[in-house]
Subunit: 106 residues, 4 copies
Amino acid sequence: MVDDRVRDALRAFVAERDWAQFHTPENLAKSISIEAGELLECFQWGADADPQAVQEELADVLSYCLHLVDALGLDPGDIVLDKLEKTRAKYPVEKARGSSTKYDQL
Amino acid sequence: MVDDRVRDALRAFVAERDWAQFHTPENLAKSISIEAGELLECFQWGADADPQAVQEELADVLSYCLHLVDALGLDPGDIVLDKLEKTRAKYPVEKARGSSTKYDQL
Amino acid sequence: MVDDRVRDALRAFVAERDWAQFHTPENLAKSISIEAGELLECFQWGADADPQAVQEELADVLSYCLHLVDALGLDPGDIVLDKLEKTRAKYPVEKARGSSTKYDQL
Amino acid sequence: MVDDRVRDALRAFVAERDWAQFHTPENLAKSISIEAGELLECFQWGADADPQAVQEELADVLSYCLHLVDALGLDPGDIVLDKLEKTRAKYPVEKARGSSTKYDQL
């Protein structure tokens, strides 16, 4: 679960190091892409990846996502559920079931 | 908060559409990178970004992160806190405070 | 210039190491994203980047692009000029001049 | 081939639209990552991709790479060959042949 305890630990980590100055939304968006590339690197040559490396890189992407969510004054669970409603409309079950086709080609 | 309610909504969304077949860890890692690029696009030419677009793209990155966390049988809060401990060791406050220097140059 | 000499050097490098087996279009696309993240990391906290690092990471992205262009039997100059024509139509000078607005909002 | 004709076409395209102001190295690095994500999206759910889409997205990544190379006053062929020499040292044929293992694990 990602709850106040996790949010507070991330906030304290940044505050102790006086790093908020670097955590602009743009720098956090860049950081998310950078870490996403490091996660992808676990799978660079195929599906077979080191589970420990995947877990650590995924944790890095998630951490930066949570920093950005917090910097924007949002709640991570709420924005995920809000977006799920929009995605639900783009991918009605009767059209999308069993298919990986993008919504604009359904 | 990201709790069981959010996890269950994401699971149900995938199950209704018979999409688990596409949600291999590798495909999810690719999806995280793809959505991270769409988030970054909000800031392509500068710091000034549409807040609604940022929120939606961030929600997409977070959603795929949560799908991957779940596919690997992990808890998102736990892996973030575990990684924070490792990062704490790489960036001791007395060396890292106020600096954006990477740990291998501290 | 990127000419036959560059293309041949990249081909020889791969052939000597028996790496063509790993250079599927999908793996090359992943590699391009991975290296793009490493290039972006030079600018993670701002505009001020180490020129040597930027040059090396940019060379890595370019190299993987050239491997993929070659794997697909294409010419890099031709595909860039072809795409420029399409982009020209999406961004007519009279509408796009001096503006960073995306074509679908022009 | 990527020669002066290609470089000049890209320069003219930017000059006509007064876009040099947006083409800072940082913005170009972000653009390369963004387009790399769009290329990767062609392979999001598997190896089977639309060749036309792959060609267009690859052309976009290449174009931004060439814009950045030019903005830095470099030659694309030269930086690729320079980096190839460094990579040659990290992956000696006798150790690396037939293996996708990263150099720090060879």
